[in-house]
Symmetry: C2
Subunit: 205 residues, 2 copies
């Protein structure tokens, strides 16, 4: 009685799991949880549907594992905001990193957006245990910077919300942005310049 995921995963297992996760990311991020089908994921992965279910316990299992895995890399930029760095530099670097992620990982951004939009049915606990403590630590750091006069005083929580909103917008609302900005123009480049100005003016004491 050998379970697929138990013991040491073989080369092939590792490779196939990776392939399936990537295919699932592609499909889930484009069609949402309910809109995605195992058939689509199987086709995208170049594997049969039963083969997919050999590696994962079901559709929901794939989705949950995707979210778990992505949570880490998603929080990483905020984690890296250094309390001992120069405040404005740190914030702007964070904005730039988030924007870079929007450019490089738009599928991940849309996957999260989809999940949150629907009320985070499969991610509620993760928000509480993963995001919330980090959010509180970092907003405290920012508040301290403001108290010390190193940054202009605003509500640090809304500051972070506005950084998330403005950066992720270019991935999540890409379909709209593409309609409104002429093709060929590098939208994210323009956003970087704009957002740098926005947050510099806001936070300069």
């Amino acid at each position: 009685m050998t379970e697929a995921s138990a013991r040491k995963p073989s080369r092939i297992q590792q490779r196939n799991r990776k392939i399936i996760m990537d295919a699932a990311l592609e499909v889930f991020s484009r069609y949402g949880y309910r809109g995605a089908t195992l058939d689509q994921i199987a086709e995208q992965a170049g594997l049969s549907k039963p083969n997919i279910l050999y590696y994962f316990d079901g559709k929901e299992d794939i989705h949950v594992q995707l979210l778990n895995q992505l949570m880490e890399s998603w929080l990483d930029p905020l984690e890296h905001m250094d309390p001992d760095g120069e405040p404005l530099t740190e914030i702007l670097a964070y904005v730039r990193r988030k924007l870079e992620m929007t450019r490089e990982f738009p599928r991940e951004s849309r996957l999260f957006a989809n999940e949150i939009l629907q009320g985070a049915p499969r991610m509620g606990p993760h928000l509480e245990s993963g995001l919330k403590p980090l959010f509180e630590r970092k907003t405290t750091v920012i508040r301290d910077w403001m108290t010390q006069g190193k940054l202009a005083k605003v509500d640090p929580r809304h500051l972070v919300f506005s950084i998330w909103a403005t950066t992720q917008h270019y991935a999540d609302f890409d379909a709209q942005v593409q309609v409104l900005i002429p093709a060929g123009e590098d939208v994210v480049d323009g956003a970087e310049t704009y957002l740098e100005t926005l947050f510099t003016k806001l936070l300069t004491p």
Copy 2:
């Protein structure tokens, strides 16, 4: 050959169509197009499924009509930005109006967000014909204001994006915001103060 929706709509028809649209908004905005079911909509509306289909041609028809109807009210605040008004006042009033809509019509916001996230499959034409011309008119107005030295110079298109992103965030990512901000606090009130500061500092010449 009499279609249900042809000719003069009776009292009952008007009433039931309204009830169904509202139920559909509730369900579609919570579960997305694919995640919503006619049974859910029927139950929410307090009508039978065949009765729903007596008034609409099908699931997609309901969704399309919802989007069409909402498009107008959605663009209304931007439409009302007055080229002859005082520039900063007009922009801040627009921000406030958008935030007010987020508070009053979060379901509508999520319905749009869902649709755009999935690549606007049922709204592409509307973006081109409805949103795009308006967007170009209004960004031109803002650019003129900047040229005349009445506002600080930034890319007006990204300015509008950032207004959309920051205001709609509170409806679309509500599930996340609720986790991060203590219950009982009026989040949108705090957002209003913050966003007023943000855009005032950005745009004051």
